[in-house]
Symmetry: C2
Subunit: 290 residues, 2 copies
């Protein structure tokens, strides 16, 4: 029997989810929901969803599953609205980059959490919006489930099987650990990239400066082209872990500054060697292997 899935937010993450399932041959009818009708029309044109509605009750009516793929700041309002319109058996899952705050919002607004499955696909590009989605985004990438005790096995199994169809590798983690790990490995690099570009913007003769900010600089700051609203929300919703991560980086930057000021060649070289060795052995090899 054809299932119906509602995609809330037909951008990079939600759009790629639908496209991947379609490409995998899933027998699913996709309904799009969002704030901007032109995006929804474009999502139909691109074959991301089969139909759409700008009315939430209409968009989720008859759906077996709802994927919330909006910036995490929108979750509380969406959950509150969803609670009164979804059918009792409808599974609700999300794709938010922060998990504790999403779970907190779900507890507060969704009522029963039996059908709520918090998840986070570790995939993305610096592009966003309805044009950005593509079917192979999740191929070979991780999908992190952060289960909560209330979730039913059936709901979780349904979400796992859909993500596996997209090509993702499903893993589980506690919400607390998730938020710490991705504060360090994802959120911190994004904030640094934003801050670095904004720093150049503040400098004198910035037009000339930016002429030379190509090549390595352009690669390094690719993620500074990410969606400002999404990342503002992540900052506010993973506040404590992000502040810890920034503070830890600032400690390293202060140590480096002191070493440069003191001309401490041994300390500088040691720090760079630790970094190079860590990346060459632990990070590069990971990517090659997986």
């Amino acid at each position: 029997m054809t299932e119906q899935i509602t995609i809330i937010g037909v951008g990079l993450i939600g759009g790629s989810f639908a496209l991947a399932l379609k490409q995998a041959g899933a027998d699913v009818r996709f309904v799009g929901y969002g704030r901007h009708e032109d995006n929804l029309i474009r999502a139909v044109e691109r074959g991301i969803v089969d139909t759409y509605s700008t009315d939430l009750a209409d968009a989720v009516g008859g759906s077996d599953l709802v994927l919330v793929a909006a910036p995490v700041g929108a979750n509380a309002v969406l959950f509150e609205q969803l609670a009164s319109v979804v059918s009792p058996n409808c599974v609700i899952t999300d794709a938010g980059s922060v998990k504790q705050s999403v779970i907190k919002a779900a507890r507060q607004y969704l009522g029963s959490l039996e059908n709520f499955v918090p998840a986070h696909p570790i995939a993305g590009t610096e592009h966003s919006g309805v044009e950005a989605g593509f079917a192979s985004l999740y191929q070979g990438k991780r999908l992190i489930l952060t289960p909560i005790p209330e979730t039913s096995k059936e709901a979780q199994a349904k979400v796992v099987s859909l993500w596996q169809m997209t090509g993702a590798l499903v893993e589980t983690m506690t919400p607390e650990r998730h938020d710490k790990v991705f504060a360090a490995t994802s959120h911190l690099p994004h904030l640094l990239a934003f801050t670095l570009v904004e720093t150049l913007f503040r400098m004198e003769q910035k037009e000339e400066l930016l002429r030379y900010a190509s090549g390595g600089f352009s690669d390094f700051t690719r993620i500074a082209s990410s969606d400002p609203v999404m990342w503002k929300d992540i900052c506010l919703h993973n506040r404590d872990s992000i502040l810890d991560a920034i503070s830890s980086l600032e400690y390293g930057l202060s140590a480096l500054t002191a070493a440069i000021e003191q001309g401490d060649d041994v300390a500088i070289e040691h720090m760079f060697r630790v970094a190079k060795q860590t990346r060459d052995e632990k990070i590069l090899s990971k990517v090659n292997v997986e």
Copy 2:
């Protein structure tokens, strides 16, 4: 008539220079010089140089031009040794990422600066060493000349024409401006990448953390795999401009931290928007155009 060029340091920069000129059909005999004979043997095997010597007088004897492509920390000693062994008409040029300190060392040790041409190719990869060089490295990349009043027109013209043969686009800049511009657009991103990876290395449960540091993190930290000795030297030799750049970034990071602490969504989003817009409009387009 066949010219003779001595390459001091047959790694990524020096090796690619020789390979590019050979590919362009330059009538040049290349002589390699370095501290490690096995690298020099390998450079001959790879066709980078035609011959080599571990004796500097021997390596530069009869050469029309010497390219100093060693970490900038080695320049002072090399210039001092070169001064007593090069022929009076031999052009000396360098490829250092810092220019004021190289010029200072040249003034102090080279004696006459008539044949000294300070230069910096804006090209590289995170790889280093004799295996890393390749003929197309400089194709379409900038070569920044930072002329000094003493340099003869003939010496400068010779260096310019060689770099043009490698495919590089030659520009000029004052040494002071060069050091400021590249502190911000190259040195700072490298130091941030090193610091970010070293920060993860310091964190608890780092093995698990590093498992998730793939994808975007891996791209972002590619330059943390760069040569620690080269970058230690850059830190010490472009000290003031680098400290200014770090300080400017720390200002941005403090502002972001404060905004996160205060839950100031407007300030956070504004900062990210400035960064995204700057990168999308000024940086990405640069790379696409050139």
